[in-house]
């Protein structure tokens, strides 16, 4: 029991140290928001104190403004959501001018997510953001399924290595490589990104899918295909987190269908050093802080007092003959 701080209420779980180190990036706790699901962050201020979060990750920014894809852009599926938003954003100039100052007022570590149409474009975005104050890290969206070529940088190790190395040469900010699950094996891509200088990798972005309106013999989404997210993708995400965390020598950020503290614990045990909450923000607007508040009692169940007691402690399956 520490000498400082108030004594815990009887029956309250013992204090836990949720500090997370992701390469050179240190966060107060492992609960982040997922890119594209958190608006400008300001929208959540009526619901809770956003500065409590481990980090806020903002929607992908591109060098030019993008209007996004034609509607309909969303369709609900069993336990999930298909989207084809198409990286709608105001472009980097407008972003730095008007959005970044607003985001700084959130007083949470800020992770800016960027996507380039070429490795040079990625690098230019990073160079542009590098001198801006108040940015904790950059997340490279190497895997958006909703734009042409969006998947390219996360489907081949060489492409991933090239992009990350070029960005690395332009900025000293911690880098997170966000990778696609839409490949046979994420591990070689993750390894390449880490070797090229990524401080951490985040998995997974959405799974490519579609919905069909048979009466119209047409896809439901305006763009035809979209990215699947939500609780229905959690098993896929857990498997990939486990695989990648064992293959790379860098922390893994787990994303995919996390909606409560038990889901978060599953990802930590599977190998995630931190997590991002995405689709759950829509239907459970307080999900991220509810997860944070739910961690101490879960840690207590495992007798854990710090992240290292939990992260990657998954046992191997016992095979019976």
């Amino acid at each position: 029991m520490s000498a400082t701080g108030p004594a815990p209420a009887p029956g309250a779980p013992p204090p836990v140290d949720l500090t997370v180190r992701l390469g050179r990036l240190t966060l107060p706790n492992p609960v982040m928001t997922a890119s594209g699901t958190y608006g400008k962050g300001l929208e959540f201020r009526p619901f809770y104190d956003v500065s409590r979060l481990g980090a806020v990750v903002v929607k992908t920014i591109t060098s030019e403004p993008r209007a996004g894809n034609p509607p309909p852009r969303l369709v609900e599926t069993a336990g999930g959501l298909l989207n084809s938003i198409g990286l709608e954003n105001p472009g980097i100039d407008e972003y730095v001018r008007t959005y970044l100052p607003l985001l700084r007022t959130l007083r949470a570590p800020l992770v800016i997510n960027i996507a380039g149409h070429s490795p040079e474009d990625f690098a230019a975005l990073a160079a542009r953001l590098d001198p801006e104050p108040g940015i904790a890290a950059l997340e490279l969206n190497m895997s958006c399924p909703n734009v042409a070529h969006g998947l390219d940088y996360s489907t081949s190790p060489d492409a991933a290595r090239h992009v990350v190395a070029l960005v690395r040469s332009k900025t000293g900010l911690p880098l997170i490589a966000k990778l696609s699950p839409n490949v046979t094996d994420v591990r070689p891509v993750a390894k390449a990104a880490v070797e090229a200088g990524a401080d951490a990798v985040s998995v997974i972005n959405t799974l490519l899918g579609m919905a069909v309106d048979w009466r119209r013999r047409a896809p439901v989404l305006g763009r035809g295909v979209g990215g699947l997210s939500g609780p229905c993708i959690k098993p896929v995400a857990l498997r990939i987190v486990k695989d990648v965390s064992r293959a790379v020598d860098a922390p893994v950020i787990g994303i995919g269908g996390i909606q409560n503290a038990d889901d978060a614990m599953e990802f930590f045990v599977a190998g995630a050093a931190a997590i991002q909450v995405g689709t759950a923000n829509y239907y459970l607007p307080t999900a991220a802080v509810d997860i944070l508040d739910g961690l101490p009692s879960r840690f207590a169940v495992l007798g854990a007092t710090r992240m290292a007691d939990v992260v990657g402690t998954l046992k191997d399956p016992v095979l019976k003959a």
């Binding site: 209007a67 996004g68 369709v75 336990g79 989207n83």
Partner: protein
């Protein structure tokens, strides 16, 4: 253009748990759900909506947006709200089964409110199908502001879909009904009543007009009222992922000042828009889609 945020976090919308006071069937497919929600009710403005979690399970996953039909008051104090909904799928089916005393998880109030010009003397409210939901709260607001001459034009498919007059609008409004098959009111479209009002001079550019209904109804109103210079506030409905402006899923197309077409969010920029700004060309629920 984003505004600088207020230093103190806004109080609304809230994620709240209301208590169901009543879930009343008012027509074959239609219910009125009354909810006790004293922390949220005072903030509700006419035209706003709430986003309801219809079940704790993963299907349906997303909340279901519903326009506020009425604010419930205890004397002068707002203590709750009602929504009027049609059972059309899994979410509204679940909602229809909720009974008195149960908790209702909702986010609200959301969206913008009607903007009734000062000095309004006459109003026409147009409802198509379940678009009748927000008519009553708007009519009550008009009456509170002293507007006496209120006509409600209400179109529905057939007698099974028509809700009782007292659930459409308060006493003192003139109610004109039309059904596709003529089983209640006039046979035909709700817009035929609009044509009559125009012809008899009871609908002019000075009239306040509010409309809520399906896209083809909005398209018909655009071509009827646009050329006459009658402005309309349209309560739109797009499929919503979040309801508070963070998913960018509920876009609709609008005409910008420079004549080009841009996107707006139904939930955060609306759901009420000036009808003449809305672009329905190619809309999946449009008349020619």
């Amino acid at each position: 253009m984003p505004q600088p945020p207020p230093a103190i976090a806004p109080e609304f919308p809230k994620v709240a748990l209301g208590e169901i006071l009543e879930n009343r069937s008012i027509a074959r497919w239609t219910h009125v759900l009354k909810v006790h929600a004293p922390t949220v009710a005072p903030a509700i403005q006419p035209g706003q909506f709430v986003n309801i979690r219809t079940s704790d399970s993963l299907v349906p996953l997303l909340r279901r947006p519903m326009s506020v039909h009425r604010v419930i008051r205890d004397g002068d104090t707002p203590t709750g709200f009602a929504v009027l909904f049609d059972v059309v799928g899994p979410g509204t089916r679940a909602l229809a089964t909720l009974t008195k005393g149960r908790r209702l998880d909702f986010v609200g109030p959301l969206g913008n409110a009607v903007t009734i010009p000062a000095g309004t003397k006459r109003a026409v409210l147009v409802a198509g199908g379940v678009g009748v939901g927000p008519i009553k709260i708007v009519a009550e607001e008009l009456q509170r502001r002293g507007v006496r001459d209120i006509t409600v034009c209400y179109g529905a498919r057939d007698f099974e879909h028509v809700v009782p007059a007292e659930d459409v609008c308060p006493h003192g409004c003139r109610l004109l009904v039309a059904t596709d098959d003529g089983s209640v009111g006039r046979k035909g479209r709700v817009t035929s009543h609009i044509e009559d009002l125009l012809a008899t001079g009871r609908l002019t550019p000075e009239t306040y007009v509010f409309a809520c209904g399906p896209v083809p109804m909005f398209q018909a109103l655009q071509s009827l009222l646009g050329p006459k210079g009658v402005r309309v506030e349209a309560a739109t409905e797009e499929f919503m992922g979040c309801g508070f402006g963070v998913c960018f899923g509920c876009t609709l197309r609008v005409k910008e000042d420079d004549g080009r077409t841009g996107y707006r969010l139904c939930c955060a920029d609306g759901c009420i828009f000036p009808l003449d700004r809305l672009v329905f060309e190619g809309h999946p629920h449009g008349a020619h889609a």
